[in-house]
Symmetry: C2
Subunit: 626 residues, 2 copies
């Protein structure tokens, strides 16, 4: 079908215009002042009373007629008769005549007849008990805040479009407004489709290819961040009846409907059909990467946008195209775009002829300059969501970004800051805990080999590696960990070491070649081969599953736990934490190696200190020694 080929990709600006043409502005509403924080005023608010509502004493002292103090000074005070007292919140019971005064508290009503207040500090008690000596001369209005001096009835207090913060709440309180007319919050319905998706918290059948639904909650959260109210509809799976009914209900109940998630052509068909039956498809496909398969249309009177299925694509497209429309509908100002200038840390090629929103990470080098690198784990990786700090927009005609080329990163939000520490290397449970003591660390568990490479390339601050291979950097500290074979609890197969893998019928699970633990295993097999006087290859060929490699430190143990294997390469700490058996093979050293130019970065120093002070971490992990 033509429509699924996205042959005529729209220009991104056209897509923005189409979305802007949709009406998703809700009706204004009224909320109590106490709940108005963050809301946007729908109308101008004028004061309809004077603040203060009366002529008010600004100090503790005596209310009097200014004319009575004419010529008074320290040397020659004037004596007035004290005829009463007025507290804040009380109606004056007296009127001041010539020669008289009234004791008055800050905030109290100026009594009739008085036109000024003298501070108590400029007075003394008179000789008789009921007189006061005033040691200064006053002008009418001194120390009085007149009615309406703060804001008067009829004056403009706040304009439409004002975002209500504590300050506006203060002014609204002062003028007695307790119901605030605000812009409505656009409701955004989120319909997720796709048989393979399961909502977080539900049981997952991985064997049947199920994965957790990432886009529903992520999009809902992003909707809230943009000032909308998100409404999640029950997951429709690939039940087309349910999907259609969810879409129609959402359109009825919401200002905007978003769908995302299905990679199934038939699900997309249902969406097309419902959009075409009840509204209009305005656009399908945008010339942007990621995010090509975006749909824009009207659905039963509501606005509709179909987001791409991959999480990074969905969030990128949402931010670039949908969030501005939600903010506009909510009356919220576009946030000041937070951008950071940096230089490309590596060369990045690209040649698809489409605008590219490249997710990018940032790292500060030894000179405090920002280096920028692409974060593209591809194929729907969700970790990219948190490993990137923002987006670099690469125009369609740019074929590559050179190493060192200046680029501008549009941060995901104004409060994004680059990590204080950027590391890569071995996946290690002690390291996970030590990183908890560093503020905003970023760590990629890509194995020792990749960790070394990234450090060498000047990308990372530190590498976490095993083995003696001279690291090209400064050793910041390290620890040792016991490694061996993880086996089912009780070791029912009586696996007694590496020999058993070679000689017995044990299904083994290895780690990937990038892993330092795999190198350690290789070294041990070299020794075993030497002992036996055979070629190493002979041994590895005899190990059932030697090439079955999994990524992370717990992965082999999980395979053993799941009865997919009889033994796996792993750590004593992992076996203990998962409650399975362990056959020790040796101890290996894990080192943290820093880029010589960046050892003074606060995050690097912090990690160094954390290793140094990490006895509690190492003590709590079986087989670890700091």
């Amino acid at each position: 079908m033509d429509r699924k080929q996205f042959r005529d990709l729209a220009d991104p600006d056209v897509a923005r215009e189409k979305i802007a043409s949709l009406d998703l502005t809700p009706d204004p509403e009224t909320v109590p002042l106490r709940q108005a924080r963050g809301r946007v005023l729908a109308d101008r608010l004028d004061a309809d009373l004077d603040v203060p509502g009366f002529d008010r004493a600004s100090v503790d002292g005596y209310a009097l007629k200014a004319a009575d103090t004419f010529g008074a000074n320290e040397a020659d005070p004037v004596e007035l008769t004290r005829i009463g007292q007025i507290h804040a919140g009380a109606e004056p019971a007296v009127e001041v005549e010539n020669g008289e005064c009234v004791e008055i508290s800050t905030g109290a009503v100026l009594p009739p007849g008085a036109d000024a207040v003298v501070m108590v500090e400029r007075t003394d008690a008179g000789d008789s008990g009921d007189t006061v000596l005033v040691r200064t001369s006053l002008a009418p209005g001194d120390r009085v805040m007149f009615a309406g001096a703060d804001i008067a009835a009829g004056e403009r207090a706040l304009g439409p479009g004002t975002v209500v913060t504590a300050r506006e709440v203060g002014l609204l309180s002062a003028i007695g407004v307790d119901e605030v007319p605000v812009r409505g919050v656009p409701t955004v319905g989120i319909v997720s489709t796709g048989d393979e998706l399961v909502r977080p918290g539900q049981p997952l059948d991985s064997d049947a290819g199920q994965i957790y639904d990432v886009n529903s909650y992520t999009t809902a959260t992003a909707v809230e961040e943009a000032g909308g109210e998100a409404k999640l509809y029950p997951h429709a799976g690939d039940d087309y009846g349910a999907m259609e009914s969810a879409l129609r209900t959402a359109a009825e109940e919401c200002d905007l409907v978003l769908s995302s998630g299905s990679t199934s052509a038939s699900a997309v068909d249902v969406i097309y059909r419902v959009v075409e039956e009840t509204g209009e498809l305005l656009l399908h496909g945008v010339a942007v990467k990621p995010g090509k398969p975006m749909l824009v249309g009207e659905l039963a009177g509501s606005a509709y946008v179909g987001l791409p299925g991959y999480p990074v694509s969905a969030l990128t497209i949402f931010r670039a195209f949908v969030a501005p429309a939600i903010r506009r509908a909510a009356g919220r100002p576009e946030p000041e775009t937070a951008t950071v200038e940096g230089r490309m840390a590596i060369r990045e090629r690209y040649s698809e002829g489409r605008l590219r929103y490249m997710p990018a990470g940032m790292v500060t080098d030894g000179d405090g300059e920002t280096l920028v690198y692409p974060v593209d784990k591809g194929s729907g990786a969700t970790t990219s969501l948190v490993e990137a700090d923002g987006i670099v927009s690469v125009p369609p005609d740019v074929e590559y970004l050179d190493e060192g080329e200046p680029v501008e990163v549009t941060l995901f939000s104004g409060d994004v800051r680059p990590p204080t520490l950027f590391g890569a290397g071995e996946d290690d449970p002690a390291l996970s805990r030590l990183l908890d003591r560093v503020e905003r660390p970023r760590y990629l568990a890509v194995g020792s080999r990749q960790g070394r490479r990234r450090l060498r390339n000047g990308l990372t601050d530190v590498a976490v590696v095993t083995g003696d291979e001279g690291p090209s950097g400064v050793e910041l500290g390290g620890w040792s960990r016991e490694w061996g074979l993880v086996v089912p609890a009780g070791n029912p197969g009586d696996v007694d070491g590496l020999s058993a893998l070679v000689d017995d019928d044990v299904r083994f699970v290895n780690r990937t070649a990038d892993s330092g633990l795999r190198s350690t295993l290789s070294d041990a097999l070299d020794e075993l081969a030497a002992e036996r006087g055979v070629d190493r290859r002979e041994l590895t060929d005899a190990i059932d599953g030697f090439e079955l490699a999994v990524r992370a430190h717990e992965s082999p143990a999980r395979k053993v736990l799941g009865s997919d294997a009889g033994a796996g390469l792993g750590l004593r700490a992992t076996a203990e934490s998962l409650g399975i058996g362990f056959v020790p093979c040796g101890t290996e050293r894990v080192s943290v190696v820093g880029d010589a130019d960046r050892v003074d970065k606060p995050g690097v120093r912090r990690l160094e200190a954390a290793i140094d002070e990490g006895a509690d971490v190492f003590d709590r992990l079986a087989g670890y020694r700091g």
Copy 2:
């Protein structure tokens, strides 16, 4: 009493230390993922499953054994037997043998036996219906995302202290976390005291000196902005029993208790007593302006801070001393302090020997430079809250800030931006409406005289003035308004013009001398005096209340409405909107005059356009003409 004199003011840093020494950190809690937005992770979260949980096809195509495609290319494809189909979310029912392939959807489980996927675009249907021609050769792993490739069980997903945004929600969704361990939200009890305070929405008795309680809702909102939960206790008035009970209940229920509002010495006594009976007073009085009367202590096991009573002081002290403690207790990072460099627009003297947090406004001059001016309306003005953009910290030993001196403004929050238009002058209902069409305007209704002065001093962008007095700027537009005497509905006193004020027994209310309307009245009285051949002074002396001047355009009408006067100076528009009588005296011109260097500022241009297009505004206001 010594303690009320605040003789020994603490250094601000000591105050910060004292507050930091209080424990207001609540217990961590667990929230559903859908409600985790903005919360702070209490613990590290490691993945406890692989994502994806299976080896997954990254494209639509055919799953096969890579070895079968060895040497295949466009010219010489290899033909494989298609033995089935696998959709996303389904468990593979077949195993791939040599020479076979399985049609597979993006996201589906790689079937046993297969080790790669070929994109559908690189294949053709074979000659027979059940074969596929593969036009490329593949390596094992091509177009496959292996189990755990995104994140693997045991890997560190997110660290403690991470603020949950859409991105983190995405990663947590992917690893199936639907209950998130987060830092608790510190609860902050707010106890307001003071007989004169009334909560917004309640009726106000101004004659008895009542004012609306500004601090309770403002502080509550500021608490929420800092990441706390605010709990308001019933207003205790000056009922000391109620006050004591509110304090004790708040201490029991909250992590921190704030009190504010009372200017009454006896109320402060109650607070002292309760603090001393149930806890400890750590500090009273801080050497900072505003905010000297701050109390810090412990109250029945909770932290306690007494804020000053004036709203600007209370919010300033809250922000400087209390908000950081709340953020720390909530685990929230200190926001990147948003500061703006500018130059003092005017000279500002100061010599109290205390650190001063000077509320400051900002305005951009014609060269795009930021000018900074103090906002200090004193004596508890609440309008200062919204008329300032941030704070300039002035050290104790600085006696003045010179005009042009560079200063740094710490913005109230990162999203504060200077107004696009800064004006001052006449209070006018048409202007109020025109300003609605300008984004972020700031306007001080200080009257024509003050408006002219501020324009002349280079402070404002525009002045809004009446009269012909040659304005020192560029006229941007204007309108005319009908003025006269506002009288009770039906004009029961048969007031027929200015003569009646002079000749009859009518109590009059004037506007202040800064008001342009007052100048217009003066001119008219000059004419009347000339007509009658008398001195102008003779006329004004004969007007009962000529010196009774109120500030804003509605104020005299309100006095008439409240039966405090028989006639007031005002506009036909005001009389109509308040439903009272009007005796016309003439028409005056209101002009908007711009600073010649700033007429190109977007906000100035916008106001100019709004006047130009303002027919609907002028038509809707009685007596107005654009």
